[in-house]
């Protein structure tokens, strides 16, 4: 099997349904098709270079940001606007088709994840896989997330860097 699409923590494998391998191109295609995308960003983005990547990707695609854990503070301190939710809290809201959205704009149809702890993100993605048929999930971590609908593959930093950079053009 292709090591790039084995879940980063290999035992996350959960059943027959596996994420599609996303390249920056397919990821961008998904973003283009989405009507109400959301960007969920975890604590690994508290530091550079990920924080800047997140900032720029959010800007170019006009993505509202939800920060999980205590990521909010670093973002706030660096002037990046975000709303703070626990990762389980936001997953819980995302699975409710009636949820009004972080700004009252209604439920999202695409959720982009980056920078959350791998296994708790896997669990949250599992929730959405099973209980949120109304939205797609896409992860752009350097780890393959088999519970997402689409995910970047496992990569080394350099390649990931390139992938993220590519995300910054429409």
């Amino acid at each position: 099997m292709n090591d790039r699409v084995i879940p980063w923590q290999p035992t996350v494998i959960a059943g027959p349904k596996q994420a599609l391998l996303a390249t920056p191109e397919t990821a961008k295609l998904m973003l283009k098709k989405a009507k109400r995308p959301l960007f969920v960003v975890g604590p690994y983005a508290k530091n550079e270079p990920l924080m800047s990547h997140v900032k720029e990707i959010a800007e170019i695609w006009d993505l509202p940001i939800v920060t999980t854990a205590d990521t909010f503070k670093s973002f706030h301190d660096n002037g990046i606007e975000s709303d703070s939710y626990g990762i389980v809290e936001i997953a819980n809201l995302l699975k409710d088709p009636e949820w009004e959205g972080i700004k009252g704009e209604g439920q999202n149809d695409l959720v982009l994840f980056v920078g959350c702890i791998y296994y708790i993100a896997s669990q949250g993605l599992s929730t959405l896989k099973h209980f949120a048929p109304h939205l797609k999930t896409l992860t752009i971590c350097k780890y393959f997330h088999s519970n997402a609908d689409a995910s970047f593959p496992n990569m080394k930093d350099e390649e990931w860097e390139k992938y993220l950079t590519k995300m910054k053009t429409k």
């Binding site: 290999p10 059943g15 604590p43 999980t68 503070k73 389980v88 819980n92 296994y119």
Partner: protein
């Protein structure tokens, strides 16, 4: 007024002519009698116990003595309405029957089950297993202690404690006066556990909420089980009976004297430990032999003899075994590594298994002469022995340790650093060690640096158990590098650092303390009780637990702890080298740090909440679960924290705690329990309360916001703990205090005043003075309007007009 409420509960929960007849109910509680006389079954009723062992006492009896699962179902459904289960499947398939496996991703299985019910079912199964672990342990202990002390041995904790067993009192409907009396509670939970486990069978329950209700019931049974265990051992073995200032005992790998013969106990059941302590004392070996323990059994042995030492929590197990320091390893039950025999063998240590829970394939030598057993092990004829008699364990372990410590000198140390470095040098940086690590800690960097002679990164992982030595990296390593040996060796190099202390587990909280803190707790002057419990498997080391404890202690919260949590807290020192146990008193009061004891002592945590309801608020306990839980839920700002989720026991404890109405915050691994109970603060209608004083429906607040929550970081958890201590009964001053802490912590860790603070402000008097202007801005932004304070909040059904 309460009586009316109870009448309503009664109509939902009549213990009547139904198909869930609890075996003892018809006999002991004479439902038919009440029925035929048409007497309403509610508290306020005086019931005479006419059973043979009646003590001619009169008891107020509530509607649900010895409740079956369905008797408390309506309460569960109220909780579940506010906090619907949040499922995060760990596996998409069900593998429980041979129709399968079935893929449940948007599909029903061959038996018709869907993914929600399957998750609920798994939660129930987990809680049943967890409850069974504590309860079977307690049954063992109870029978052992009855065997030792007699069934008429009194359950009496002295003048300072009237309610020895608040959980049994509430749920069984009576107070056990003797060890023998406790058997009735044991029988009851055994029967209930069977019914609950049965429901996990293919083709039984089909509704996820009903599975959750049953999981709550399993959790509650677990609490009875734990209380039975601790109450029995306190009573029979004269362990501390709630004294606040129990002694400090030594803790840490560095505290163990390598030069003496070392007996190591691992597990949870005090019985073999008692056998060893007694034998050492009776034969004056106390100074000669080092007795130490890992996991709860060590905590309990120190309650029996403060000369015993605590190596540490479960995360120390492989480190210490690999070090070879132990000459004899005595395992009892629970949280023992399955490969303990293999690891002991590697180091030439003798292994004694002592319970039916872990026999390890060893010959049963229970009825053989001590000398024969010892000889067979010393001569390497046997790897160890199964000895089911605790006294004999004491003698065999002692004799083995005396003999082995001489021959094992060379095995008591690890390979040289050179060897270790040579081994680590084989690392090819494939990174699989990191990928299979539960926490993806930088183990590859550590190994790879060690290969180059730099051990600092390994040391960092050793300290505070950032690596808790589960050993998965070593199992995966394609170069077969002995990573756990490396880890253990680092410890050996830093023994001096590894010396700490822990306050001996005190058991229950005394009545006088409850009386003192009752009002400040319910009104909010003491901002909350925070309980750090559960296993290791911490996302980023044990320090996080201690830091959280420190934070809340310094903020006047009451901090309670037990088991591995209590040990983790003991392993943390401030700059002056003092542990939290040295810095804070053991009083159950603001700024008190209370170690209740081992796993089974966790029962004293809901226990104290129950006692507040009874001693402070005069709520009758017997058969009165819903009223008590409703009281706790709405008034006692307690919050459990299980930072290092691991076992089924922890899941059972949390479910029981939740059913009592106490929220629990888990660490990120808690998400792997697959089920949380999350509230929706955005759905205002779910927070309504009834005021029992007036019967009016009143707008409430998300207090507590979640019932079972998994936080991704310590900072997130800390803020959430503070928030989840808010309760509807806080008076203005209390609410100010609580909000002050919440805002403080939010500012500290998130940089801002939390936007949702407006939800917790009922009128302007609730606003913390320090933050007045900022908060007012938030209120305005959110179209805030003042609302009524509730006097006697309840979520129970209020009597309808009839």
């Amino acid at each position: 007024m309460n009586i009316k409420i109870n009448n309503i509960i009664k109509t939902n929960n009549e213990v009547g002519d139904n198909l869930t007849p609890n075996s003892i109910k018809p006999k002991d509680f004479k439902v038919d009698f009440w029925k035929s006389k048409n007497i309403e079954f509610s508290f306020g009723e005086i019931i005479e116990d006419n059973s043979p062992d009646s003590r001619d006492e009169e008891t107020f009896m509530g509607p649900t003595p010895k409740p079956s699962g369905t008797d408390l179902r309506s309460w569960d459904m109220k909780l579940l309405e506010r906090y619907p289960p949040f499922y995060a499947p760990f596996c998409d398939m069900c593998c429980l029957c041979t129709f399968g496996k079935c893929d449940l991703t948007g599909k029903k299985g061959a038996c018709g089950i869907d993914i929600k019910a399957q998750q609920g079912r798994f939660a129930l199964l987990t809680c049943c297993i967890g409850a069974a672990a504590h309860s079977a342990h307690s049954r063992h202990l109870l029978e052992y202690l009855i065997h030792k002390c007699g069934s008429d041995h009194p359950v009496d904790f002295g003048n300072n404690i009237d309610i020895e067993a608040p959980i049994m009192r509430t749920l069984i409907g009576k107070a056990p006066k003797t060890l023998g009396d406790i058997r009735e509670s044991m029988d009851y939970i055994e029967e209930e556990n069977l019914h609950l486990l049965s429901t996990c069978h293919t083709g039984q329950e089909g509704n996820h909420l009903d599975f959750e209700s049953k999981a709550f019931h399993a959790g509650l049974m677990d609490h009875i089980g734990m209380e039975i265990g601790d109450v029995s051992q306190i009573a029979a073995l004269d362990l501390p009976k709630g004294e606040a200032n129990t002694p400090l005992v030594e803790l840490g790998i560095g505290a163990i004297d390598h030069d003496k013969p070392v007996i190591l106990c691992i597990g949870h059941n005090i019985a073999p430990g008692v056998g060893i302590v007694d034998y050492l004392e009776d034969n004056d070996f106390e100074d000669e032999i080092e007795l130490c323990g890992i996991c709860c059994t060590s905590i309990d042995i120190t309650r029996y003899s403060d000369r015993a030492k605590v190596v540490g929590p479960i995360s120390k197990q492989l480190k210490f075994l690999k070090s070879g320091v132990a000459d004899v390893v005595v395992v009892d039950e629970q949280c023992i590594r399955s490969d303990v025999l293999e690891e002991a063998q590697k180091k030439g240590a003798a292994l004694i298994a002592t319970t039916d829970k872990m026999c390890l394939g060893l010959d049963d030598r229970t009825n053989d002469p001590v000398d024969a057993i010892v000889a067979d092990i010393i001569s390497k004829k046997d790897d160890g022995a199964l000895i089911l008699d605790p006294e004999k364990v004491g003698e065999v372990a002692t004799k083995l340790s005396l003999s082995l410590s001489k021959s094992r000198k060379s095995l008591k140390s690890l390979p040289d650093m050179d060897k270790i470095q040579e081994d680590a040098f084989k690392c090819t940086e494939c990174e699989w060690c990191v990928r299979v690590c539960p926490n993806s800690i930088p183990i590859m960097d550590a190994v790879s640096s060690a290969g180059k002679g730099d051990f600092e990164s390994t040391e960092k992982l050793y300290d505070h158990d950032i690596c808790y030595t589960c050993g998965r990296c070593e199992q995966e390593c394609p170069e077969n590098i002995k990573i756990m040996d490396l880890m253990a060796k680092i410890g050996e190099n830093n023994l001096k650092k590894e010396k700490f202390n822990i306050r001996v587990g005190r058991g229950p909280i005394q009545d006088v303390e409850v009386r003192r803190v009752g009002a400040p707790l319910v009104l909010g002057d003491i901002p909350g009780i925070v309980a750090f419990v559960g296993c290791s498997n911490y996302p980023d080391g044990a320090d996080d637990v201690a830091k959280m404890a420190e934070e809340f202690l310094e903020r006047n919260y009451i901090v309670v702890t037990s088991g591995c949590g209590a040990m983790s807290i003991g392993e943390y020192k401030n700059e002056e080298g003092k542990t939290l146990y040295e810095r804070f008193s053991g009083d159950f009061d603001a700024r008190g740090l209370i170690n209740v004891g081992s796993c089974v002592s966790n029962s004293h945590i809901p226990g104290v909440a129950i006692k507040v309801a009874n001693i402070f608020a005069k709520k009758p306990l017997e058969g009165n679960f819903e009223v008590i839980a409703d009281y706790i839920f709405n008034r006692i700002g307690a919050c459990g924290v299980a930072w290092g989720a691991y076992s089924q026991k922890a899941a059972a404890i949390a479910s029981g705690v939740n059913r009592w109405g106490i929220p629990v915050i888990l660490g990120p691994h808690g998400s792997k329990y697959r089920r949380l109970y999350l509230g929706r603060s955005d759905k205002e209608e779910t927070w309504n309360l009834t005021d029992m004083r007036t019967g009016k429906l009143i707008k409430g607040e998300p207090a507590p916001e979640h019932l079972l929550y998994a936080a991704e970081s310590r900072e997130e958890a800390t803020v959430n703990i503070a928030k989840n201590c808010i309760r509807p009964t806080d008076n203005n001053k209390g609410r100010q205090i609580k909000l002050n802490h919440y805002i403080d912590l939010h500012k500290k860790y998130f940089g801002t005043i939390p936007e949702d603070v407006y939800r917790y402000i009922r009128n302007e008097k609730d606003i913390p003075i320090t933050y007045k202007n900022d908060v007012k801005e938030i209120l305005e932004r959110n179209d805030w309007e003042p609302r009524e304070l509730v006097m006697e909040p309840t979520i129970l059904d209020f009597p309808r007009d009839e």
